[in-house]
């Protein structure tokens, strides 16, 4: 299994508007709180307008080389194109979280590396059922955390608290709840 405590190289990918860049920011903030080396690199430009949006988050104990991740140790994929684009590149022993609400085929037909752990579940559906519309991203993040334990649980909560802007304080509790739902899913 990948050594997430030494280095987490995560790609978060889906449609624009699914909140993956935000989920990536929370992950990056976990690294910041832990005092690790951190980089957060979004895709940008026309790509962001209606197409796929993705970001690469690196947390490491060493200086980070390229912030573009070509061989991730972890992947959150919230649509089918993202699965097809990134799942095969996940390193042996890595972890993949797939929201099968939109990526209905899961990792089916993708040649995965040895020992890659896949958690495929309907995150968007869960979010809507729980009255947490728009927080499937955080549910996926919680799931990835439960697979990889890339930081302490308190650190994750602190990062979420930091990332929800003061003006939107009322969204803090739902975000924390979504994270827990992901862990339990």
């Amino acid at each position: 299994m990948a050594d997430y405590n030494h280095e987490l190289l995560c790609v978060l990918s889906g449609f624009g508007g699914q909140g993956l860049l935000f989920a990536g920011k929370i992950m990056a903030n976990c690294g910041l709180i832990d005092g690790r080396q951190v980089s957060w690199m979004p895709s940008y430009g026309p790509e962001m307008r209606g197409g796929t949006a993705n970001c690469s988050v690196s947390l490491s104990d060493d200086a980070i080389g390229t912030p573009f991740i070509t061989k991730p140790t972890a992947l959150i994929a919230m649509n089918q194109p993202s699965v097809e684009k990134f799942a095969a590149s996940v390193q042996p022993g890595g972890a993949i979280v797939i929201d099968t609400t939109l990526a209905m085929n899961g990792a089916e037909g993708v040649e995965l590396a040895d020992g890659v752990e896949v958690a495929a579940f309907k995150a968007t559906e869960i979010a809507e059922a729980e009255g947490l519309k728009g927080l499937a991203n955080i549910i996926c993040l919680g799931k990835l955390w439960s697979l990889t334990n890339f930081c302490e649980r308190e650190v994750a909560d602190a990062a979420i608290t930091k990332c929800v802007p003061p003006k939107r304080r009322h969204l803090l509790e739902p975000n924390l709840r979504a994270f827990q739902l992901g862990i339990d899913a």
């Binding site: 690199m41 980070i64 070509t70």
Partner: protein, 378 residues
Amino acid sequence: MKGNEVLAEAAMRAGCRFFFGYPITPQTELAAYMAKKLPTIGGTFLQAESEIAAINMVYGAAAAGARVMTSSSSPGVSLKGEGVSYMAGADCPGVIVNVQRGGPGLGGIQPSQSDYFQATRALGHGDFYMPVFAPSTVQEMADLIYDAFDLADEYRTPTMILADGMIGQMMEPVLLPPERDLSTLPAKPWATSGSRMERKHNVINSLYLSPNKLEDTNYERFERYEQIKEKHQRQELMSCDDAQIVVVAFGAASRIARTAVRDARKKGIKAGLLRPITLWPFPTKAIDELCDGGASSFLSVELNMGQMVQDVRLAVNGRASVDFYGRTGGVLPTPEEVLQAIEKVAAGEPVVQSAEPGAVGSLLPHPKHRKSSYERGE
């Protein structure tokens, strides 16, 4: 914070109170940040009607003695060439940011380093240079723009931050430099800020119709350039002490090269990384030392078709072999590709200029394997 926002914040901390620009991807966050914050600290943000107008506003504000900057991306920087040349000719300090994208022409918007020549070989017409800084981390975005303002004032020259879409868009932890007390900024007795009838009038000008006079001003300016070359070459060396193969890379490419050099070391290849922080002046002294220290090969890794490699060749001056590996158009090489190039150099084989088709991270097929539209019968 995103790299672009850090540039803006650090510039204001360095005492910059005036920003003139025109919208272009991928530097928009910088202008947006300036638009929001500058008016709240007594500064001026102005979106000009064009890049040409923007750089001439910078020229005017610089002539009036202010710390001033503009930012753009490759196609926009071409338009600024005129004003930068005038600033150089009239000895006006100011900072120009280029968050590079792929070219030529409208090109693309993905990270690229295709403006190395433009930045280091006089941006615009005429016989001049300007110091060019190449940040490779978000932290350096902050540190280098701070230095760029100081150097600009010290030598009365425009300076440039040559960044790229990758460093501009990414977020990394950053320690921001301290807020500059504006009263501690260097005095500019030459500025056209109004004589107040207390001094002889000042003239900011780059026109010298007498050839001898023009030659004198150019000689004087190049003396300043010599001082800059002597005192302000900057670079970072990584595992270069016993390096036989030195990878030379700046900005985004250096991030990728860093990973590749580390991987090469793991494989037992004596590779090191020379990362120029100043592109002009180019760190020739460091290359001298590396040559003296036994480096036998240099490999320039760039996001273009081979521009900085010319400076590497000039600096190496036949003392070692010089190879090039690059991707262009906004395609980023993977560390694996760069590692392959290093291995080729180690084996004494020629470096292939592009990734093999289907290689990880290769978004384009190898040119050799690509058919023209004619061949495809279109």
